[in-house]
Symmetry: C2
Subunit: 253 residues, 2 copies
């Protein structure tokens, strides 16, 4: 289950460590997620998690540190692992509540980036994160850890067809705005002219390749984050932070 194929076959993914397991159990409590089983090593600090799991009807297993480590992907396992149902959220499900701000990640491959963008999307008040194309698995261990629980706070969905994701966003009333370092217009101009206040799906490409041409051509517009110094670009997570927060502010004024 530490590989994507294993996760998809089992229909499950692993959540490790106190903070993330606490969030997963909270999501289980609200019905947003199903925790199948909780494994712990019996350390004192794990008692509250075991109790919370039991009260939510989750089977709890005390195992040896060695067994817990075998479930862990980290070098320093914390001896606390939840096995959770892989959500079967479709892109249409994720957009059903008609969010006014959405992040779309096209073809990104770095799991740490994926999780960090989920975290920053949550922080900026986005209503969904959509993975499009040949993208990293948001439910891999590193992505789950980088999201610091935000994976359980908002709907996450994936579709290999970037076109289908873009169509679904448009059908949900979202303006499709791509982040592109070569775009003629910048974020400040869009904030000034009021266009950022509209319901927006921000579309981000990978750091290495940017937005594929077939995606860029289907967007309503592209905008660049202004580079005031001599940096050639921002990394994906910081660019997403600046773009999503610019929309969040414009939508609340």
């Amino acid at each position: 289950m530490t590989r994507r194929a294993g996760r998809e076959k089992a229909g499950a993914f692993l959540v490790e460590g106190a903070q993330a397991v606490g969030e997963a159990l909270a999501a289980h409590g609200t019905g947003a997620l199903r925790v199948r089983e909780l494994f712990h090593t019996g350390a004192d600090r794990q008692a509250e998690f075991a109790a919370a799991a039991r009260s939510g009807g989750v089977p709890v297993h005390q195992v040896t540190e060695r067994a817990a480590a075998s479930l862990s992907e980290t070098v320093t396992p914390q001896g606390l692992v939840a096995v959770c149902d892989l959500p079967a959220t479709s892109v249409a499900d994720a957009l059903a509540a008609r969010p006014r701000l959405v992040a779309v990640l096209v073809g990104i491959s770095d799991p740490g980036n994926a999780g960090t963008v989920v975290r920053v999307s949550d922080a900026a008040g986005a209503g969904a994160v959509l993975f499009a194309g040949d993208a990293v698995d948001a439910y891999g261990g590193k992505a789950v850890r980088a999201s610091t629980g935000s994976l359980f706070h908002l709907p996450i969905a994936r579709d290999r067809s970037a076109g289908a994701v873009l169509d679904a966003c448009r059908d949900a009333g979202l303006r499709l705005v791509g982040a592109d370092g070569r775009a003629p217009a910048d974020l400040d101009a869009a904030a000034d002219d009021g266009s950022l206040a509209r319901p927006t799906a921000w579309v981000f490409g990978s750091e290495a390749h940017g937005l594929p041409e077939e995606v860029a051509s289907r967007l309503d517009t592209t905008l660049r984050v202004p580079l005031h110094g001599r940096a050639e670009s921002l990394n994906l997570a910081t660019a997403a932070a600046v773009c999503l927060y610019a929309s969040a502010r414009a939508q609340r004024r």
Copy 2:
């Protein structure tokens, strides 16, 4: 030289790979940095770097891939390494040009974060990045790589005394603004009331520990990035991106 003590003893640090070595040689050309030596494995694509180094008076050595790899800190060495003088920039030097936007990092320990914040500071037009307290070395391999060349674009300085760094910023006419998730006022309010337009030193603590009390008590104010969703916080680099870009925008209106 892959360890801080080794770098300080040698007064030098290593820069790897085409993009970063190109930036280092450019900085050598302007006198902003001294490249001592260039090592390469003789691959065709390295010829332009070797020529640029020679024309700048930098000794160039062709070595075996094994020798180049021994100089490298990465798993996939690119066979191109520049040995550069460790800049002796003091905090006073870094502030001499009276920048209107500065990033101060207090006690941060993750080199990837350090480099990413240098990159985003450069992008947002900051005039210096100052490391205060018991901080990671900005000239370590991982920090250099994460900065993607921005390390050579703006002055970087370090002082173990956070108080001395804050005093120097204040003396340089900068308002000291800390990023703090528990601050009563948020970034949007500061953008609205005009205070963000003033010359500002943004002060960031570590992700794990935040701003130490003895630092927080010496600031002019603290501000929080608004959390519109359910995320408990942002990571350091994304928080810095949002704060620095908010100032950059306010200072340019």
